[in-house]
């Protein structure tokens, strides 16, 4: 799989779905604002909810794509985009929004894989952010 590089186009094998994508999986402004707005406990709970959302939604998305259930696939992509937007997972949000678009021209199964990859990347960065926040709080 192509490594995402700053403002480089996304992967070739699924055609261009994103012209310019953020370097980081997480937008530090949004996640940082959320962390600032909420107590540490609330912030951690939201990240855990996000993690649970991603695990469930990305698995369901792949299953829907594999079975050709495209309406369900788009609805799940919408939910993923919403969850990602809430915590500043911008790259994941963008990929999910491409999946929501009926005319995106990408193979749903490949996009679903890409979603899972972006979800992992977002979670990894959020884990680091959480650890930093908890360390700061401690």
């Amino acid at each position: 799989m192509t490594v995402v590089q700053g403002v480089q186009p996304y992967v070739d094998e699924t055609r261009l779905w994103c012209d310019r994508c953020p370097v980081s999986a997480i937008d530090p402004d949004i996640a940082g604002q959320l962390a600032a707005d909420l107590s540490a406990a609330d912030f951690v709970r939201i990240l855990k909810t996000f993690e649970a959302d991603l695990g469930r939604l990305s698995a369901e998305l792949e299953a829907a794509a594999g079975a050709g259930r495209l309406e369900e696939y788009r609805r799940l992509a919408h939910s993923l985009a919403g969850a990602a937007a809430a915590v500043g997972a911008r790259r994941l949000e963008q990929v999910a929004r491409i999946a929501m678009d009926r005319g995106n021209g990408n193979d749903p199964a490949l996009l679903a894989v890409r979603v899972r990859q972006e979800a992992r990347a977002a979670l990894a960065e959020l884990d680091a952010l959480t650890a930093a926040r908890q360390a700061g709080a401690g």
Binding site: T49, D53, G82, A86
Partner: protein
């Protein structure tokens, strides 16, 4: 509401988004509920009655827009803020057309959510206040009154403003303008409503009985006083005493009433023991009360005791479209009472009603409509069914001041009724003798014209029963085909 804790319903199907909204709102001190679908949100909003709703537009099942429409149909008045994705401005605009107050693009920081919500709640509060003010300004019914005209709105406002106070109310207005109804409205709108409303027509009670009627008497106080009897003041204890036609009160009784108003206590006729009561006084007259004071017929000190809050009842001619509004109401009521088919007035008939000056005010209108219902039966009141005086196209000059006190409710001989002018004036063209029946017809119609078609008053002047006039009118109309 803005700034205070509010009830906020979150409609969001994505747990992360919902969790963010819940955490931020709770942190702001708001009470929250969550619905994950539109189907779940509609009954929850109808039951919980939130102040605001954060509505995601893209929901599984029914959309956020459909949920908003259903909530509106259920009477939900919450301020709706739609939550959209960054590219969802188009759907936010559509939601605002559907009644949403504002939109919030995801993701939103706490400060943005707080400001948007506070603005939405403030808009909702203002809209609600505006609606209340509008409904108060445009109401066409109030405590038994029918009328949406500006002068009546002023009457309603005065009654509402004064009701809670104990202050005396002095109602002025021509005969038939609803002075007693206004007095009752003051009572019914007041904290005294659970106690008695006692009305006394000072002009209808013989002078020597008035004191006993107001203050009561003990057994043996005067010839015929076989039992101790409570007066109006005692009966109205804790409630309201309405003294109608106060200008008719004899001077010696005015002194006693003044003392009662000053001390709150009175002595029943024949008793040496003072009784104290808590009574609110509402009085009324169809005369100019200050002119009565100046003429020496009404005590100035009593005037100042009674004339605390003046309430002027507008004559019907100054109430614009209220005439038709009242006529329609009366027609429906009388038709139901008399078992007639009437459903409304023909446009020409309504135009004639609206153009007439109604010197006898609502009472005259009441009599006219009653006459029509008694004498006819049709789906619609046609212009031809109206009394001739309304069809003459004449808007009669209204009297500067009402000339006579209110008529007695029962059509018996009423000594204060004005007598008819001489026959030669009634029938200036009457050169030769005519059959007696014809003379009776003309004379009866002239009497009706003279008292603005008030049948009971005409009957009183002519010394006959009102039913005789109704029967004659019916017969003459039948003859006329």
């Amino acid at each position: 509401m803005a700034g205070a804790a509010a009830r906020v319903l979150i409609v969001e199907d994505t747990p992360t988004q919902a969790e963010v909204a819940l955490a931020l709102l709770r942190d702001m001190g708001h009470e929250t509920r969550l619905a994950t679908t539109g189907e779940e949100a509609v009954p929850l909003a109808a039951e919980w009655r939130p102040d605001a709703i954060l509505m995601d537009l893209e929901l599984p099942g029914i959309s956020g827009l459909d949920a908003m429409r259903r909530m509106r149909a259920e009477g939900v008045k919450a301020a709706v803020v739609v939550v959209t994705s960054q590219g969802g401005i188009g759907s936010a605009v559509e939601a605002i057309r559907e009644g949403a107050v504002d939109y919030l693009p995801k993701p939103y920081p706490k400060a943005r959510l707080s400001t948007t919500l506070a603005n939405a709640l403030e808009k909702r509060a203002l809209a609600s206040e505006l609606q209340e003010v509008r409904s108060r300004l445009s109401r066409d019914r109030f405590m038994g009154f029918i009328g949406a005209s500006a002068p009546m709105q002023a009457v309603y406002r005065t009654i509402e403003s004064v009701a809670a106070s104990r202050a005396s109310v002095f109602i002025t207005g021509e005969s038939g303008t609803g002075k007693e109804l206004a007095a009752e409205a003051v009572h019914r709108a007041s904290p005294r409503r659970s106690k008695a409303f006692i009305a006394l027509n000072c002009g209808a009670i013989p002078r020597d009985l008035l004191e006993s009627e107001v203050f009561g008497h003990v057994r043996g106080a005067f010839t015929g006083a076989t039992d101790t009897r409570m007066g109006a003041a005692k009966l109205a204890d804790g409630g309201t005493l309405f003294l109608d036609e106060i200008g008719e009160m004899p001077p010696e009784m005015q002194v006693k009433l003044l003392r009662f108003l000053q001390t709150g206590s009175f002595q029943p006729v024949g008793s040496s023991k003072a009784e104290k009561v808590d009574v609110r006084i509402v009085s009324a007259t169809n005369r100019d009360p200050w002119a009565e004071v100046e003429a020496g017929r009404f005590r100035e000190d009593l005037y100042y005791r009674l004339y605390v809050v003046p309430l002027a009842m507008p004559p019907l001619r100054e109430r614009g479209s209220d005439v038709v509004l009242i006529a329609r109401h009366l027609l429906a009521a009388f038709a139901a009472e008399e078992g007639r088919r009437f459903r409304g007035f023909a446009p020409e008939a309504e135009a004639a009603l609206a153009a007439y000056s109604w010197p006898g005010n609502v009472r005259q209108l009441q009599n006219v409509v009653r006459n029509i219902v008694v004498l006819h039966d049709a789906e619609s009141v046609e212009a031809a069914m109206l009394p001739p005086m309304l069809l003459r196209g004449g808007v009669q000059a209204a009297p500067a001041a009402p000339p006579e006190p209110a008529p007695m409710p029962v059509p018996v001989l009423a000594p204060r009724e004005p007598l008819l002018p001489p026959l030669t004036e009634v029938f200036p063209g009457l050169a030769d003798f005519v059959p007696l029946a014809e003379l009776e017809r003309r004379y009866m119609l002239a009497a009706l014209d003279h008292v603005a078609q008030d049948v009971p008053r005409a009957a009183a002047i002519l010394g006959i029963n009102a039913s005789t006039i109704y029967r004659r009118l019916q017969a003459w109309r039948a003859e006329a085909g």
